[in-house]
Symmetry: C2
């Protein structure tokens, strides 16, 4: 299909999106609509699925002007980058615009818990639910027992669409409240039943899927377009490109989005280099690390016990490998103990992160062989060739963790004499 | 004391804070240090406590230049307004900079759940914990079973200080996890024992109090200086002053801060008018409404049953009354049912707010006699004399609510035939 056939977006908005292109073979292109939700049919096989991504009329985008804009207009959310987004429908929730918080040694935490539903997933759902609305779907369906489900539910509500969340029957009770708060229909089913049910609901209720439908992960073609705004914001806030970005990885959509965002900055002449990307997977699984190690585009692994339930994927995806290797980065594995240490470090700096969210910092600490040291000059000292600070993405808040709300409240006596031993033990009294 | 005696801040930073002044009688002034944590001793009586507030060398502040700055530099947090802040010590957590999210009828929600610990309290604690650090205190102590305690714990951790949280023994378990996450010493004690224990910990452990110590509320003298940045941001983001701001009120510190911020904008010549402020208290109590009704500076009320536990204060404070009446506003009372409706409206627009957080919107809906109507042109149509949009402050996330995590997970069969009735009932299948 000649590019001219879809060289103009089908809406009258600011988007310069032109179509979809296969990551399996960029010679295979597709129109922008409908969004591909099951990867590239021409390059995928029964065992291995290749995703597609959104293409743009980059020559129509004035990169330096767009990225010279200040971070103001936060209430616009990711709509502030509209030319490089698929068409966004209706009002968003001012997603993104999350701050960078420095740790003691100068490493930055990109605190994604500051999004509308307190995780990075809002960036994806702003874009994917817009696509559902644009397609005239009655609603969306998502297989998730956590952040992704709640975020999809919130954006569906905002857009006036229905939402079905296919949750695991092991969903933590506080997360169930979260999922239900936005009016979603929550269906807790056995783990194995989730993906077949997702397909049925797509087929029989005409719901637009915002979860993956393929054997290796491809996901929604538009989703990573939301995530790439993390890269835009890092550049805008730092005034430069980081040397390295450490990203918690389940399927790797966020990692791919971050990588794409930086590649676009380079393509548009805004920067001449990109950061190395480092993926952080639980060592209980790690399909991306396994794919890189064995030299395959994407693979499956057995997942052992881990509490990092937000990123304990058995299926990998080609997107993650593509982004990682293109950036010159490496796949890293972290143990639950390393994530707990990083989670404790973040909390000790005032940020309560979900265990999975701390994987990025855990991977950085493990790779740089360092526990956090004051004034160690670690910014720019990550062992990477490039200059620039190190950024660890923290994806979500601690409220979503396993174990939250399970500790019993143990009342103490308010009598002073009874409290003295406890206060002494805590170092609060001599 | 002549003003010249404290006309210079005692630090070398950007702050133009000069001292503290009594709200009971502005002729009574105090040096900037130490922060007054028990109100104005010269105007307070045994029954009625008058707070003090921070004064500035306003003539040294270039208001138009300061407020012409874009909303960029979000990672600076409220430090971006440093000249109009008490001295801020160390690194913050990029508090504030929260977005405005429009509802269908054009009313704006100021979504304070987008702060570092997901509530407005972070603005206060950035300032109050800075004061503790500046004073050389070993730590802070706070009486709270919710947002304020967690926020104080986070900022204390960030500043390398200790934190003791005196919680109610009825603290919800998920909130207990939240409080403990930042390493605070949490002491769950009977309700009545909290304030005496707070005073003991201040006296005997030299902890700096970030909770109230007086019969009617005065709180920390510096606290509302953090809250006033809400007003600064509203002006910066809207490019104008709202006609009205609806604020959930427990003790009224936030209300006072918002009012002070707008008054400063007027004083600095940045604007020539201020919004009317409307307080939203649960009708189960309502000490501010009672004080206005009976014509006293501040009072106590009996509090009946309400689930709005974050704002169910029996003690009022003079700050709230002062700000409300100065703005030409009114005290409003809302029922739990009205708050639930507003909470549902917010969730239906993608924002999961704590019940107490929805009080502002509930009060607006009640006062404007309207359920939300699309295209009703409610922005600027609040029945107020002034032009400009209406803003409702939503203070915190739904995660902190009572009842979260208490609904049982009820697994459903993933068999299609078994699901059909449920999907039909939900309108997802014909």
């Amino acid at each position: 299909m000649p590019r001219a056939a879809y060289a103009r977006p089908m809406t009258d908005d600011l988007s310069r999106a032109t179509g979809q292109v296969s990551l399996g073979d960029p010679a295979f292109t597709y129109p922008l609509w409908p969004p591909m939700t099951a990867g590239c049919p021409r390059t995928s096989t029964e065992a291995l699925s290749y995703p597609v991504e959104v293409d743009y009329a980059y020559e129509e985008v004035d990169g330096p002007a767009l990225f010279a804009r200040s971070a103001s207009g936060r209430s616009d959310g990711i709509g502030r980058w509209a030319p490089l987004m698929p068409p966004l429908v209706g009002a968003g929730l001012a997603e993104g615009g999350t701050p960078l918080v420095p740790l003691e040694d100068g490493v930055y935490v990109k605190d994604e818990s500051r999004n509308p539903t307190w995780s990075h997933k809002d960036r994806l759902n702003r874009v994917a639910v817009s696509a559902a609305a644009r397609m005239g779907a009655p609603g969306v369906v998502v297989a998730s027992s956590g952040n992704h489900g709640a975020s999809a539910a919130a954006y569906a509500a905002r857009a006036g669409l229905r939402c079905v969340v296919i949750a695991s029957s092991h969903v933590p009770p506080a997360v169930l409240s979260f999922l239900r708060a936005y009016g979603a229909e929550v269906l807790p089913v056995p783990e194995d039943a989730r993906w077949p049910l997702l397909r049925l609901l797509v087929e029989r209720c005409a719901l637009h899927p915002v979860s993956n439908l393929t054997p290796t992960h491809t996901g929604h073609a538009f989703g990573p377009e939301g995530y790439k705004t993390v890269a835009y914001e890092l550049f805008a806030d730092l005034g430069t490109v980081p040397s390295a970005v450490y990203v918690p990885v389940g399927y790797g959509e966020l990692l791919f989005g971050v990588g794409k965002g930086f590649e676009e900055l380079r393509r548009l002449g805004v920067t001449d280099r990109v950061p190395r990307l480092f993926s952080a997977e639980p060592d209980a699984g790690g399909p991306l690390a396994a794919a890189v190690r064995t030299g395959v585009p994407a693979t499956h692994v057995e997942v052992g016990p881990t509490d990092a339930y937000a990123i304990d994927s058995s299926a990998g995806g080609y997107r993650a490998r593509h982004a990682l290797l293109r950036s010159g980065g490496e796949p890293l594995l972290v143990s639950d103990a390393q994530m707990r240490d990083a989670q404790r470090e973040l909390a000790g700096q005032g940020m309560w992160a979900e265990l999975s969210s701390a994987a990025g910092l855990a991977a950085y600490r493990a790779r740089s062989g360092a526990t956090p040291a004051k004034d160690a000059g670690a910014a720019g000292d990550s062992g990477d060739a490039g200059d620039g600070p190190v950024v660890c993405v923290s994806t979500s808040s601690g409220f979503k963790d396993l174990g939250v709300g399970t500790e019993p409240v143990e009342p103490v006596s308010p009598e002073w004499d009874a409290l003295v031993p406890r206060l002494r033990a805590a170092g609060l009294l001599d």
